[in-house]
């Protein structure tokens, strides 16, 4: 159990902003009971996060910046993929990264070394990024107009699925060493995916991984999902990933 989910939705920042976004409570006085009354709220639990995500989305949209929320289990290869992507695409529009980890600056250092402007967000014991953290990171990052921002979420296939950050699309990564049944075990993450990268295919000769079964499982959750087999270290399949990126950048919002 994650003790303090890192999520500050419960306290602090944005407390007053919340007031302006929620519908006024509708008082229904229950008669005849005498010891209380019912207040109808009928509001989304994550309304505050959704509202801040909407502001991030608008802020990015005004500047023609495309943000992508990159999610996977720990160690599937998010940072490796982004290092490689930053190095390969550095000639095109600039790439920056918001790096979410519970601890350390290690991944941020790797990405800076690969030529990407990077801001590290340490969530402590928190298991996901939320829209407030991304808003702060964007302010610090100051990504140029028309650029691409990758948000590397905390390695976790459960919690990040619930929190909109204001991204254009959700990139879910898994590696062939994790087993083809991953989508069935973590359905919510795969249900929300806009593209699925199957990483570490250079290891296919050494592991028992049924690519077709994995793809079918993911598509049961997200019909028509684009599935791209890649090797972030060896470079296989990256052309298709770069095509997807270019397509997503061009797609009307």
């Amino acid at each position: 159990m994650c003790e303090t989910c890192g999520c500050d939705a419960g306290t602090g920042a944005g407390g007053t902003a919340r007031l302006t976004t929620l519908p006024a409570p509708d008082h229904e006085h229950g008669h005849g009971h005498g010891h209380g009354h019912t207040v109808t709220l009928d509001q989304k639990v994550l309304a505050h996060n959704d509202d801040l995500a909407g502001r991030n989305r608008a802020w990015l949209g005004e500047r023609g910046i495309v943000a992508l929320n990159v999610m996977s289990s720990p160690g599937s290869g998010k940072t490796t993929l982004l290092e490689r992507t930053a190095a390969d695409l550095s000639a095109g529009s600039p790439i920056s990264v918001i790096e979410g980890d519970q601890e350390t600056l290690l991944d941020a250092r790797r990405l800076s070394a690969a030529g990407a402007r990077t801001v590290q967000v340490n969530t402590g014991t928190g298991c996901h990024l939320d829209a407030t953290m991304v808003a702060r990171a964007l302010a610090a990052l100051e990504p140029p107009d028309g650029s691409t921002v990758f948000v590397e979420n905390v390695g976790n296939l459960v919690c990040p699925a619930l929190f909109d950050l204001g991204e254009r699309a959700r990139v879910v990564l898994m590696s062939v060493t994790e087993g083809a049944d991953k989508p069935l075990k973590y359905p919510h993450m795969f249900r929300g995916a806009d593209v699925l990268l199957l990483n570490k295919i250079d290891l296919l000769p050494h592991v028992d991984f049924d690519m077709t079964a994995c793809r079918d499982a993911a598509r049961r959750l997200r019909p028509g999902l684009r599935v791209l087999p890649v090797s972030a270290t060896r470079g296989d399949g990256l052309a298709a990933w770069y095509d997807w990126l270019a397509e997503t950048r061009r797609a009307p919002t």
Binding site: R18, L22, V45
Partner: protein, 112 residues
């Protein structure tokens, strides 16, 4: 676990809207396809509620199902999980709904 963040959001929303109330019951809707576990929310609610206006409040949770539309037999059926299979046996099913997390209402104690 994201249930703590979810629970904290519930408490924050209620505390903001009803700051000086003593809450007796919170009515929550946790869709069966939301990925949020009601038991974990109950656990977090008891802990995170301490010292707030919902301390000691009862949680009443409803869990609406989603809807599965079967491409094989054309019927619709209640979907209790994101991989629900049609009663006809087909897994060629489009599932929608059942993912909402809502604070429906709270019952406030009237102090005398």
């Amino acid at each position: 676990m994201h249930e703590l963040a979810v629970t904290e959001s519930v408490i924050a929303a209620i505390s903001t809207q009803l700051p000086d109330s003593r809450v007796a019951v919170v009515h929550l809707e946790i869709g069966r396809l939301s990925g949020v576990m009601p038991d974990a929310v109950r656990f977090c609610f008891a802990l995170a509620g301490e010292g707030t206006c919902v301390e000691g409040a009862r949680l009443d949770i409803t869990q609406p199902e989603g809807v599965g539309d079967c491409a094989n037999c054309g019927t619709s059926f209640p979907a209790r999980d994101p991989l629900a299979v049609c009663p006809c046996g087909s897994a060629d099913v489009t599932i929608s709904g059942g993912a909402d997390l809502m604070i429906k209402a709270v019952e406030v104690a009237d102090d005398v």
